[in-house]
């Protein structure tokens, strides 16, 4: 036998129930028996989305899928396929879900094993600048299908069946939103793609647009058909030049093929997309502020209702969805709402993309079925914390979300579960924090961001975040006062309740959730002048211990000449001059510099 096979067994809940684990044990025993255990690699994957035909076994190369495999079939598979290279025809399943191609290339890598790529199904697979690549993978088939034999009502019905919810963070049912916009009467309607991604550390939308721009356009065209619009806007940040270039090329190519413009694909549906650049204001990700920005006004939110579905862009009914939501639409149409609704858990269907960053071995973009736990993402997919450090917290939802400590690692990722424990799904930022980070500084960082991005229209957000930030800065500088914690909580709850838009309503979340889960750290800062992570410089001092042999390395490294001492004698740090940069700590080879 020449080929080196990889056998993947689906380890989704449904396949486990049908015995996939027993199959694996048996398979490994047989491989051992035939003496080919070293040549065949077995691999476990998360749900492959073919639950109805489970247990599923995939054999590569060749991408042969076996369904309904029983213990009696294992012998035949090993002898026929793995030894004689002769696939067992009676067990093969012909499945052509849209994400299959991703799995072919990346399915046996550990990082991708537990992932399921629906929105990002083509990212990293196709040439994003080639419409041919997209067309060859059933691109624009969903749009054509909709134009050929679905009424707008059918499309909305399919979407409602799928249970897809807005991926921008709030999680509003997409089908309902479409229905409301369709029901609003007007001579003109609009669709908007919100690609104003502003969360620090989040880059899901950028990757989606740079990796597969046509999917987003196809989704928008289907949305426009469903609500009866002819004009779409792509609102994208100017900081994403390559994404803009690629989406522009995609629009031009689609027009050349008659897929955008007048009478799309010979039908009488016409639709065009225009790109609008955002100048990088965080608040413009809020839908009403975004609409103001497109209209040419200053990007500021307005009270809702009326919602954009009734009165949006230029006061016309407007359908506004996030990039990731749009990217899911073609899959819902082609694979069907029923199939989509089976992926995920509870009221959260489908998958969610996360940008995982921070203190983690494998930083990156992951797309997992809803219901995956935080632990699975952090440890199984992303490889845990580097340098044997201890996990401290995970921040989901960026500056609008909350920090969850270790006790919550087994929280299932879905809209309801995350809200229950005091965080949010958010748009998909996920920052992992280890024991070396200070939670007060973390909260300060996020609040500094929202405070400077506050548009200033409403007082609670403008003034409240400023006052909260002052208190946090005071605490991290070692000047915290008795009563500061209570004051932060009071202010935070007030801002949540009284702010006009989502920015203000969610801005106190990082502070409130760290106060709830890491209250001791705040107390230590205020009452004991202690920062357990050793990050708050005001509470830190460096000392030279008796381990010092007087080599002079620290003396030379100190940028402010705060260290004195003769050669071969113990050195001394002058605390009045020391700026606590930590250089001496880094260069010392004898563990003679201590933090306290």
């Amino acid at each position: 036998m020449g080929k080196e096979y990889v056998v993947t067994l689906c380890e989704g809940p449904s396949c486990i129930h049908k015995g996939s684990r027993r199959l694996r044990q048996l398979l490994e025993k047989k491989l051992e028996k035939h003496g080919i255990a070293g040549k065949v690699r077995t691999f476990l994957s998360g749900c492959l989305g073919m639950c109805a035909k489970g247990p599923i076994m995939v054999i590569n190369p060749g991408y042969v899928i076996y369904g309904g495999v029983t213990v009696d079939d294992v012998d035949e598979i090993v002898e026929q396929h793995l030894i004689k290279d002769n696939p067992v025809a009676r067990l093969t399943v012909k499945e052509s879900h849209l994400y299959n191609r991703f799995f072919r290339v990346f399915g046996d890598a550990k990082f991708f094993g537990k992932q399921m790529r629906i929105a990002l199904r083509n990212c990293g697979i196709i040439d994003p600048e080639s419409i041919e690549d997209y067309l060859s993978l059933r691109g624009y088939e969903a749009l054509a299908k909709v134009l050929t034999d679905m009424t707008p009502e059918d499309v909305i019905e399919e979407l409602k069946k799928s249970g897809l919810r807005g991926r921008g963070g709030a999680g509003f049912p997409t089908g309902l939103k479409w229905q409301f916009t369709r029901a609003a009467e007007s001579d003109e309607k609009y669709v908007i793609c919100n690609a104003d991604e502003g969360d620090p550390g989040a880059f899901m939308d950028r990757s989606a647009i740079e990796g597969d721009p046509h999917t987003v356009i196809e989704g928008m065209a289907i949305g426009a058909y469903a609500i009866g619009a002819n004009k779409g806007y792509m609102y994208i940040r100017a900081e994403y030049p390559l994404a803009i270039e690629r989406i522009q090329k995609a629009i031009d190519d689609a027009k050349k093929h008659g897929i955008l413009g007048d009478n799309i694909l010979g039908s009488d549906f016409s639709f065009d997309v225009e790109i609008k650049l955002g100048a990088g204001a965080f608040v413009c990700g809020e839908e009403t502020a975004l609409i103001h920005s497109i209209e040419g006004y200053r990007g500021m939110p307005r009270p809702r209702p009326p919602y954009p579905s009734v009165k949006g862009l230029f006061d016309k009914p407007t359908l506004i969805n996030n990039v990731e939501t749009w990217a899911n639409i073609p899959v819902v149409i082609i694979d069907g709402g029923d199939w989509f609704s089976k992926v995920g858990v509870g009221k959260s269907n489908g998958t969610k993309v996360f940008a995982v960053a921070g203190r983690i071995v494998n930083t990156g973009l992951v797309e997992v079925p809803m219901g995956t736990t935080l632990r699975e993402i952090i440890y199984d997919i992303c490889g845990g914390i580097p340098g044997n450090k201890k996990f401290k917290a995970v921040q989901t939802g960026g500056p609008s979300g909350g920090c969850l400590p270790e006790d919550f690692l087994d929280t299932s990722i879905d809209y309801e579960s995350l809200a229950e424990v005091g965080s949010i799904m958010g748009s998909g930022g996920m920052i992992v924090i280890d024991e070396d980070s200070c939670m007060v500084q973390m909260a300060e960082f996020f609040l500094e961001f929202t405070q400077s991005e506050s548009c200033g229209k409403c007082t609670p957000c403008r003034e409240g975040t400023k006052r909260m930030l002052e208190i946090l800065t005071r605490i991290s500088k070692g000047k915290g006062q008795d009563g500061d914690i209570e004051k932060l909580e009071r202010l935070g709850h007030m801002i949540q309740k009284a702010s006009l838009c989502g920015l203000g309503q969610s801005a106190p979340n990082p502070v409130l959730s760290t106060l709830k889960n890491f209250r001791d750290e705040y107390k230590e800062h205020i009452y004991n002048s202690k920062c357990r992570a050793g990050q708050c410089k005001a509470m830190l001092s460096y000392l030279i211990t008796d381990n010092c042999i007087g080599c002079g390395a620290c003396l030379r490294a100190c940028p402010v000449d705060a260290i004195t001492g003769n050669k071969k004698e113990k050195h001394l740090i002058n605390q009045d001059i020391c700026i606590k940069c930590g250089k001496c700590y880094e260069v010392c080879k004898f563990d003679a510099v201590a933090k306290s």
Partner: protein, 138 residues
């Protein structure tokens, strides 16, 4: 307007009576054309090389890597290779990434590729068929 709109949604009804070209027919034809154009560009070569070219990958140096492959094909006599760019697959800490897909074999994914490593991949993997395991992402 309303009458014309109705026609759009009744292709399936019309199809039985007249010969109507539906949007689905058009897109299927386009797909067939796209596939043949891709094949025309050499897709059926025994080896296909994909280089990540998103903002993040380019920032990590993937355009230099791409140039090495391009030069090897145009000047270095590397034949029977289909070279293409791709978007970001999400392996941020291992970028730039390069995939090599050969018919009948499992895809090989390389991470942290520099121009020098790319040259090595050309000389050892693409020309001699040796998988350079220490750079492989799993």
């Amino acid at each position: 307007m309303s009458r014309r709109k109705k026609e759009t949604h009744s292709y399936s009804r019309l199809k039985g009576i007249h010969k109507v070209v539906t949007p689905l027919d058009i897109i299927k034809k386009k797909r067939a054309e796209a596939v043949s154009r891709i094949i025309g560009k050499g897709y059926l070569s025994t080896k296909r090389v994909y280089v990540g070219m998103a903002t993040c990958e380019i920032a990590a140096g993937s355009d230099e890597v791409m140039r090495v492959f391009r030069d090897a094909i145009s000047k270095g006599g590397l034949t029977d290779v289909y070279l293409s760019q791709k978007g970001c697959v999400g392996r941020c800490n291992l970028e730039p990434t390069v995939e090599i897909i050969e018919s009948g074999k499992n895809p090989v994914r390389y991470g942290l590729i520099t121009p020098e490593k790319a040259q090595n991949i050309i000389d050892r993997h693409l020309k001699k068929g040796e998988v350079i395991t220490e750079w492989v992402i799993d």
